[in-house]
């Protein structure tokens, strides 16, 4: 059981580091999806450990939410790309104090 939780933690960390260091909005977004899937792994592992189905149901909810997030996220990124011809998060720097 601990192996699955460890794997989920490793995936979550890879995703978090990716969000922090990558510059392309699409890849940042993919890293967030990786973190969501790492969480799903944790949910089903804990579900197995506790012997109830709550965690597996949660994984389904997370998948639906992730799908909705893709719709919203990609539409925002595409509209930015149309305006600026770039998806680099470093170029999104017009708002500054």
């Amino acid at each position: 059981m601990n192996e699955y939780i460890s794997l989920s933690l490793i995936l979550f960390t890879i995703g978090a580091v990716g969000v922090l260091v990558r510059r392309n909005a699409i890849i940042v977004f993919m890293c967030i999806e990786l973190m969501l899937n790492a969480t799903n792994l944790a949910f089903v592992s804990f579900s197995r450990q506790h012997g109830n189905l709550d965690g597996q149901v949660a994984a389904f909810f997370v998948m639906v939410v992730a799908a909705a997030e893709v719709v919203v996220g990609l539409s925002i990124i595409v509209s930015i790309y149309r305006a600026r011809r770039t998806t680099s998060v470093d170029d999104a720097n017009l708002l500054k104090s």
């Binding site: 965690g55 996220g73 925002i76 509209s79 930015i80 305006a83 999104a92 708002l95 104090s97």
Partner: protein, 539 residues
């Protein structure tokens, strides 16, 4: 063969029991949002904006009336603490005093925001939202959309979905419902942020930043939920409370769960060090959306934060209170100090909202639930009152921001606001009242709100934190008063902004906000009683 299989000894699936009467406000707002999507598909374009506005406003008013009915029907709970309400929807929601009062607050904020959304006189008959979001800024097709007077009336269903999410978020009784509610409230707001008519590059950038950071923080929240589930074996707040009180699982896992859940919720309320998105998003988003976000998201997220930490993690409050105290101090300090150096009104209001998150955390960390026979204000009711005062004043302040304009749209640079009190005393006067309420000057709602949270923190044994809080509010008062001095005691600049004449909609919003802010300050009794009467969370 098939029928025999169906008649075999399969376990019965029992239909869930849903308390429809109790949850009706949620169903009304959801129904109106879904109806709005249908109107979007089938109603002719020419009158769609009007129909959507009427639908949204009527829906919110109906839900508000029903909320009052639900509140008066809530059952008393027999427990040591004063509480009313019950767990509903198979344990998914907790329709209790504080939750239903929050519904009321959110619906009032939603109603005022919808009036701002519907304002069309300021842009010459068009709304403050872009006509066709798919067009690139400055492109020929964008100009064509303006010429054809195309408008996005989807903003109303989107806002209604966000409102449902907020209401769910404030009453969620299990962590999974809370996560879904968080996403339901956030996703429409990400889109609404990117739909400004003017300064579209800034608006899209705000949407991108809000989306990426919001999604990032909600994943942390979700991992915290996974760990809490691993610790307790259930998503229900009361089951987690049992596990925490009995210390059944691994201590480290519990602490990690609390920390990660706190990250997600503190991000939503805009507390330091998770506040970085606030100024950018508040500045870039269309101002009506900023008003809606500032009041609504903060209210819903703060009640959700309070519910999770009081109900589920109340048993380990000595683990999280020191950290929250530190975060409260950092948040108050950072919000107040950085606001001083801002030159943009919307950014300044954003930092002010960060500072207010800090003051709210002071009341929150008191964890004062009251004792029998005492009328001292509890943490929950002080937070409710503070949110009411803060929400009204911020919607009013952002409504004023929409009116100060020049040829390029809203003039948000503070230097342009110099001498506004001489050219339009009424508008500047109402802005001054909102500033005074933010600063916590007596006879405004902000004063009673600050008194409430400080009193709750004092009752909870944090007298020294109250002293820090009072010092911080003195510091924060500086930049609010600075704006008032700028408006009333500075000569107007040559090419100053013009104050647009709004339609009845924005006027009503500003008048309601002024009356509410002063009313909460001069006659706080009824609302304060309501907040006290709401009692504790039902688990």
């Amino acid at each position: 063969m098939l029928t025999s299989f169906l008649e075999a000894d399969l376990p019965m699936i029992e239909a869930p029991e849903i308390e429809y009467a109790l949850l009706a406000p949620l169903f009304i707002v959801t129904g109106v949002a879904v109806l709005g999507v249908l109107v979007e598909a089938f109603w002719p374009r020419s009158s769609r904006f009007l129909v959507q506005t009427v639908l949204a406003v009527l829906g919110i008013v109906a839900a508000l009336v029903d909320t009052v009915v639900v509140y008066t029907d809530l059952d008393r709970v027999d427990s040591a603490l004063k509480a009313r309400g019950q767990v509903a929807g198979e344990g998914a929601l907790s329709v209790d005093g504080p939750g239903v009062v929050t519904w009321g607050l959110l619906l009032v904020f939603g109603l005022l925001s919808m009036l701002l959304f519907a304002e069309r006189r300021l842009e010459g008959g068009l709304s403050a939202f872009t006509g066709r979001a798919a067009d690139a800024p400055g492109s020929a097709s964008e100009a064509e959309a303006v010429k054809m007077r195309i408008e996005h009336s989807e903003i109303f269903p989107l806002a209604m979905f966000a409102l449902v999410g907020m209401m769910l978020f404030a009453t969620a009784n299990d962590l999974l419902t809370m996560f879904v509610a968080l996403e339901v409230l956030s996703l429409p707001l990400y889109l609404l942020c990117g739909l400004a008519r003017r300064r579209r590059l800034l608006s899209q950038e705000a949407a991108l930043k809000y989306f990426l950071l919001g999604a990032f923080s909600s994943v942390f929240f979700l991992y915290g939920i996974a760990l809490a589930y691993g610790y307790a074996g259930s998503f229900e707040l009361s089951a987690i409370d049992t596990a925490v009180t009995n210390r059944t699982g691994s201590e480290n896992m519990l602490l990690a769960a609390i920390a990660l859940i706190a990250v997600g919720l503190l991000f939503k309320i805009g507390a330091a060090p998770f506040h970085a998105w606030t100024p950018d998003v508040y500045q870039g988003a269309p101002t009506p959306v900023t008003a809606f976000m500032a009041a609504g998201t903060k209210t819903a997220a703060f009640i959700a934060l309070t519910r999770v930490f009081y109900v589920a993690f109340g048993g380990s409050q000595w683990d999280w209170r020191p950290t929250i105290v530190a975060i409260a101090i950092i948040t108050m300090f950072l919000g107040s100090v950085v606001a001083v150096s801002q030159t943009d009104v919307k950014r300044m209001l954003a930092y002010s909202s960060i500072a207010h998150a800090g003051f709210l955390l002071v009341g929150f960390v008191g964890v004062y639930a009251g004792v029998a026979g005492s009328d001292r204000v509890t943490s929950v009711s002080s937070i409710l009152f503070y949110l009411a005062a803060y929400g009204l004043a911020s919607i009013g302040a952002f409504a004023v921001v929409t009116l100060v304009r020049d040829s390029g749209g809203e003039t948000t640079h503070l230097s342009k606001w110099a001498g506004l009190g001489k050219t339009s005393p009424m508008l500047a006067g109402s802005f001054a009242i909102f500033m005074l309420s933010f600063a916590g000057i007596p006879l405004t709602g902000g004063f009673i709100g600050k008194w409430g949270v400080f009193s709750a923190a004092y009752s909870g044994g944090f007298w020294w934190l109250v002293i820090v809080g009072v010092l911080m509010s003195a510091l924060a008062a500086y930049f609010y008063v600075r704006v008032i001095v700028l408006m009333f005691f500075t000569e107007p600049v040559g090419d100053g902004p013009t104050v647009a004449v709004p339609s009845l909609l924005t006027t009503v919003v500003i008048v309601v906000a002024v009356v509410g802010t002063l009313g909460l300050g001069i006659l706080p009794g009824p609302v304060l009683d309501l907040a006290q009467h709401a009692g504790a969370f039902v688990r």
